[in-house]
Symmetry: C2
Subunit: 406 residues, 2 copies
Amino acid sequence: MEFLKVASIKDAVNQLCEKTYEFDTEIVEIDDLNGRILSKNYFSKINLPPFCRSSVDGYAVISSDTFGADDSIPSLLTFIGSGEMGKPNEFVVSMGQAVYVPTGGMLPQGADAVVMIEYCENVTGDMLTVLKAVTGGENVILVGEDVTEGELIAKKGTVSDFRTIATLSSCGISEAEAYKKPKITIISTGDELVSPQGKLSSGQIYDSNTYSVKALCEDACCEVIACLKIKDDFILLKKAIEDSVAKSDMVLLSGGSSAGEKDYTVKIIESIEDGFVLTHGLSVKPGKPTIIGTVSHKPVIGLPGHPSAAMMIFTEVFWRFLRKKRNETDNAIKIFAKTSENIHSAPGKSTFQLAFLEYKNGEYIAHPMHSKSSHIKVINEANGYIEIPTTSEGIEEGQTVEVKLF
Amino acid sequence: MEFLKVASIKDAVNQLCEKTYEFDTEIVEIDDLNGRILSKNYFSKINLPPFCRSSVDGYAVISSDTFGADDSIPSLLTFIGSGEMGKPNEFVVSMGQAVYVPTGGMLPQGADAVVMIEYCENVTGDMLTVLKAVTGGENVILVGEDVTEGELIAKKGTVSDFRTIATLSSCGISEAEAYKKPKITIISTGDELVSPQGKLSSGQIYDSNTYSVKALCEDACCEVIACLKIKDDFILLKKAIEDSVAKSDMVLLSGGSSAGEKDYTVKIIESIEDGFVLTHGLSVKPGKPTIIGTVSHKPVIGLPGHPSAAMMIFTEVFWRFLRKKRNETDNAIKIFAKTSENIHSAPGKSTFQLAFLEYKNGEYIAHPMHSKSSHIKVINEANGYIEIPTTSEGIEEGQTVEVKLF
C-alpha cells in the first residue's frame, strides 16, 4: 500500500503556486473592468479636481468682501460675468467684484470662496447683494484635494469594482492591465452521474458538481471553456486530461466517489510526461480525497466527489491558489460570532464547520449545522463556515470564532 | 419658483414600483444561472439521495452480525459480491453475508450498515473478517435524508449562486425561470465631461459616472445596452431620452452638475407623452438632486452628478427598486460597529456616512470618513456606510450602528 501524500492546505497551495506558471495579463478597457483583477499598480495622471471648482451654484468672491454681511447689512458687490461649465473661467475677481459659477465650474482668478445663490440677490443688472458672509475656501474644492497627481489610486491585486472604476476613470485612466481569466476545463467523472436534463435510473444520481464548480469558476474570475463528462475508464480519462491540458490553463476534475477513480486520476497524472502529483489527500475535513497535481506546469486538481466537499475545497484551496497567484489582497470584512455549542473537530485536520448566524443581544451567535459531506441542502442554508485549525481539538460553546461568509 | 417634489427614499421607491411595469421572466439553463434571480419557487423533483447509499468504501452488512467484533474476536462473514456505481444493487444480504459497496453506491437489500474497508480483511475468496462492530445505519445515507421529494429548495427572489445551482441540479432541475436582465441605457450629460480616453482642456473633468454606473448595473443583474454622451441641450437630450426609452427597459441619466441640466431633465420628462416626474429631490444626503420619473411606465432616473452621490443613490434607491420588483430577499449579513466619534446628520434627511471599519478588542469600530460629495477616492477607501435616519439628529460616539458594506 502506498501512503497518501497528505498535506496541509497552506503547504499544498504554496507548492502549487511554486510549480505553476505565472498568470498572463492583458489590457482591459475601463468599460469591461468590473470584477477583473489588476496586475499592476495605478497612479493618477492628474490632480483631482484638476482645477479649483465651486461645490455649489453661486457667486465667486473675495471672502473678505463679505465679512459681516447678513440680512440686515448685506454686502454690495459688482457682478462682472458668468463662468461656464467645461470652459476656462477667464474672469479675474478684484475687491468688490463677483462672478457667477455653476456647481463644478471653475473658480475665476482672485476669488477664494463662493456664496450660494440662495444667499444672493441681483439688485440691478450688475449689482449683487450678498446676505451671508463666507470664509476663505468656503464652497470651494481645491486642486488635488481629492487625489494628487502621481498618487497611488489602485493597487496590484485589486478586484475592480464600481469604485475602482470610478477612481481610475476620474483620474484619466481608460484601460488597465489585468490578469487574464484562466481558461478552465471541468471534467466530471463517475458512472453514477446523470445530467439534470436526463432521467435517473436505479443507482444513479444527478450531477451537480459540474454546474456548481462552473459557477465558482465564474465567481473566481476564470473562464470555463468546456465541461466534459468522461466514463470511468483509464484510457478515456487520460486522453481527456491530456486534451484538456493542451486547450486550457487549468483542469478541474470532479471525481465520482468510487475508490477506483481516485487512483485513476493520480495514476494518469503520473503517467503523463511532465505530470506530477503534488498532493494526494489533504489534512482537511471535508475534502480529504483531494488531488493536486500539475501537467506541463498547469494545475490539474481532483476535487472530492461529495458536493459540499467539492465546493469547500474549491473555495479554500483552489480559489486561495488563484488569489495568491494574482496577488489579491484580502479585504473581506470578517464576521466574528460566539458558538452556540461545542464543536468537535477531526484531530490533525483543518475542519470546516458550516454555520448559521443569528444576531442576538448585540452579537452574532454561530450555530453549527450538522450534516454529512454528501449533503447539499445544508450548504445552501448556511451563512458560512468556521475553520477549526489542525492544532485545535474543537471549539467550546461561547467561544468567539471567525465565520467566513459564502 | 416651483417647489421640488422631495420624497423619502422609501416613498420614492414604493411609488416607482407602483408606476412601473412588472419585470419579464425567461427560462435560463442551469449552466447560465449564476447570479440570476429566480422568479418562482422551486421544489425538488426527487428524494435526495434517491436511494440508500453508502458513505464509505466498505462492506454492506446486517449490523447485528458485527456486534462485539474487534481485532481479537472478529466476525466472519460470507462475501457474496460487489455492487457497482450507477447501477442497481441486485444482491440481497442475509444473516452472515456481506456485499462490497463503493462510496455513494447503492446499499443491497437486507443490509442496514456498512463496515469501512479499513476494518475488513478478505481471508479467502469468499470469507470476510470484520474487525469492528457497526451500529444500524452506520455509514449509510438514507433515501431523502438530504432533501425530500416536493420540498422547497429555492425561493422566488433568490439570487442564484453556486450553492443554489448545486441544490437545483442535484434535485434534477436543469433550467429555472428567472427575471430577465433589464436593458438599460446610460445617458451622460454635462459639458464639462471628457471621456478618460480623451485629453482634458481647462475647466473639464473626466467622466467617471458612465463607467461606475455601468459596473453597478452589471452587479445588479442588469444589461447596459448603450452609453450615450449627450450635449447639454434640451432638444438633443429629449430626443436621446425618447429613443432610449423606446429601445431599453430603463434609462439612467448621469447629470452634469450645472443648474440648467437638472431643470432640463425634469422638463423633458414632463414634456414627453406618458412621462411623469414622481420625485424631484430626495430627502437624502448626499443625493438630493435625484430625479425619479417614468416614461411609458419605464423608469427614467436622473442620478446626481457628483460621483459619490451617484453611486450612493444607485445603491440605495435604484438597486432597492430593482430588489423590490424582483422580490429579492435580503440575506446580507449585517455588520454592527461602534462609532469612533460623533457623527452629525442633516436634519430632515437620511444621511449616508462613509465609514472605515477597524476590528479592535473583539468588536468593530466605525470611523466616519469626512469628505465632500464631489470626492471619489474616499468611497474607494471606505468599507461601507452608515445610514442615519431622517428622525435622528446624529450619532454619538460609541453608539452601535449598522454598517452597510459595499
